[in-house]
Symmetry: C2
Subunit: 322 residues, 2 copies
């Protein structure tokens, strides 16, 4: 570790950092709270006067407590797109800047959203279990799936990811509509002004929105009732966009048709009730996890840190003025 | 069973027939070889003089032996698109006409082809097993997948299904090329004149061709070597398009990267060696199995039979003149 390199704090290694630590360590002196025998709080206080930048992700939230321990902090670099794990209000108050990785994950997340929708509606991982369990020669006909073509798919949040999901589904002959903070006049897709209207006009919902105070538990039992007994929910956003306890109730009672989930309210813990359901596909928050994306994200992380330490413009600053 | 309805033979119920038997039985007198105490051969001989039409699929092949038992046969109605289970040469010689279900399954099969590609490259059913097995909280980082965007995907057979796969992959940012009996000048995709050239320019192959003498075991160890160690094979065509024994060797030795299979050489038996591999997804020949498709296919089957028995033009005759 070269003490002349600029210091960057890592409280717990984000996945992108864990995979590409070497290329980041080549350029920065990494202060590893997770490698220290000190409790995190003590480690932060011991480095309080010097730490200007921190790398984080959902598994190492930057809370008000963490920020209080770091009075010299000027930059929070997230290895993710969403920044719901950062106390943005406190950062704003203190003038701490925040970067994410911009749009680098959008295509990969959109691919997995579509993969989950195909999987749930066409029973792909269920079919794989059926064959591997030796059931095909015994039970001749595997249960029929549901056709995607012609189905009404509602996208929640037509940002970078949602737009890419829409293009993919359109190519598959789905009828795409969406809800979003604002109507996007540049798209041909039908806009519904709220989630209830979208759900009642959809056969499936795909959640692609940021987690904010407005979207927390947006998918509640009313929305699921509007979606209906055959309705499918795909979540590649954040777990807490759904009221998870209600989702489980609805799935267990058959009040919705199925779900494909990449994210959960209390990761890495996934409610065990889901494991008994064969109309559910559960992923370990891996929709952005490709070799190519992690490399690209690392470049953005390094680029933002280099820009900061050389007083240049940040590459992917997150707006924090509202 | 109304004896005044036209007679139609079913040797073994195709999946489409099994699900929609009632709507077919309403219009035809079904002779069920599979419900008879007689051995099939004896049942056929007992009805030899009267049977003019038979319904079949891959699980009830119309072989030369079957045709020999049915001297009055004039029409073979397949509930599938592919007709590799019918002795077409013998039908041609005897002037027996053959119908399939035309294009009704293409969109659904294309969806599953894309679903399998996403699944293998992004490790979806593997991720589902990882989470359900309780491994996420223990092993923090699930292995990274491979990005689809920018990958070179080679489509084998750019017919109805292949064209629909191409449109879907194009929307995902893949670079699509193909091989086919003839170059299709109406598409923007790159044509390679043979499978070896296609494989050596592809990161994944998607098999969408008919099974014929020309395509049987077309995917041999030379093709897999050309595809390479990271290459992925998706098969929604027929099992015998791949040399299955060679495929298993290549997968076990790591000479190709993974496979997504809906079809096998000896269905419903799937080689058990595949079950030990986590870079493989195995489906029970279900790529065409949706409620919507089965309904549509039933209408085509009934339509062809009605046309035949009223001397009208068949709806979806299969050309049998080459």
């Amino acid at each position: 570790m070269d003490p002349h390199l600029p210091q960057v704090l890592v409280i717990r290694p984000p996945p992108v950092f864990a995979v590409h630590e070497q290329s980041i360590s080549n350029k920065f002196q990494i202060l590893k709270a997770y490698d220290s025998p000190l409790p995190t709080h003590d480690f932060l206080q011991a480095n309080a006067q010097s730490v200007k930048a921190v790398i984080c992700s959902g598994n190492s939230p930057i809370t008000a407590d963490v920020l209080r321990d770091l009075p010299a902090l000027q930059l929070v670099v997230s290895t993710t797109t969403g920044v719901n794990h950062i106390d943005m209000a406190e950062c704003r108050r203190r003038g701490i800047r925040v970067t994410n990785v911009g749009d680098v994950f959008s295509d990969d997340v959109a691919d997995v959203a579509v993969g989950l929708l195909i999987d749930v509606m066409r029973r792909i991982s269920g079919g794989d279990k059926f064959v591997r369990g030796g059931r095909w020669p015994v039970t001749e006909q595997y249960p029929l799936g549901s056709k995607l073509g012609g189905k009404r798919i509602g996208i929640v949040g037509l940002g970078h990811i949602g737009s890419k999901v829409a293009i993919r589904l359109d190519a598959m002959g789905c009828i795409v509509s969406y809800t979003s903070r604002q109507q996007k006049h540049s798209t041909p897709f039908t806009f519904y002004p709220n989630i209830l209207q979208l759900a009642s006009h959809s056969d499936a919902l795909i959640l692609c929105c940021a987690l904010t105070n407005d979207t927390r538990h947006m998918i509640n039992n009313k929305v699921m009732a509007a979606l209906g007994k055959k309705g499918v929910i795909i979540n590649v956003a954040r777990g807490a966009v759904i009221d998870e306890a209600e989702l489980i109730k609805c799935l267990v009672k058959g009040e919705i048709g199925g779900a494909g989930l990449d994210v959960y309210e209390n990761e890495p813990n996934v409610p065990k009730e889901l494991f008994r359901l064969d109309n559910v596909v559960v992923l370990p928050h891996s929709s952005a996890c490709t070799n190519e994306c992690f490399q690209e994200a690392t470049q953005v992380v390094v680029g933002n840190l280099e820009a900061f330490f050389t007083n240049k413009s940040l590459i992917t600053p997150v707006r924090n003025d509202f």
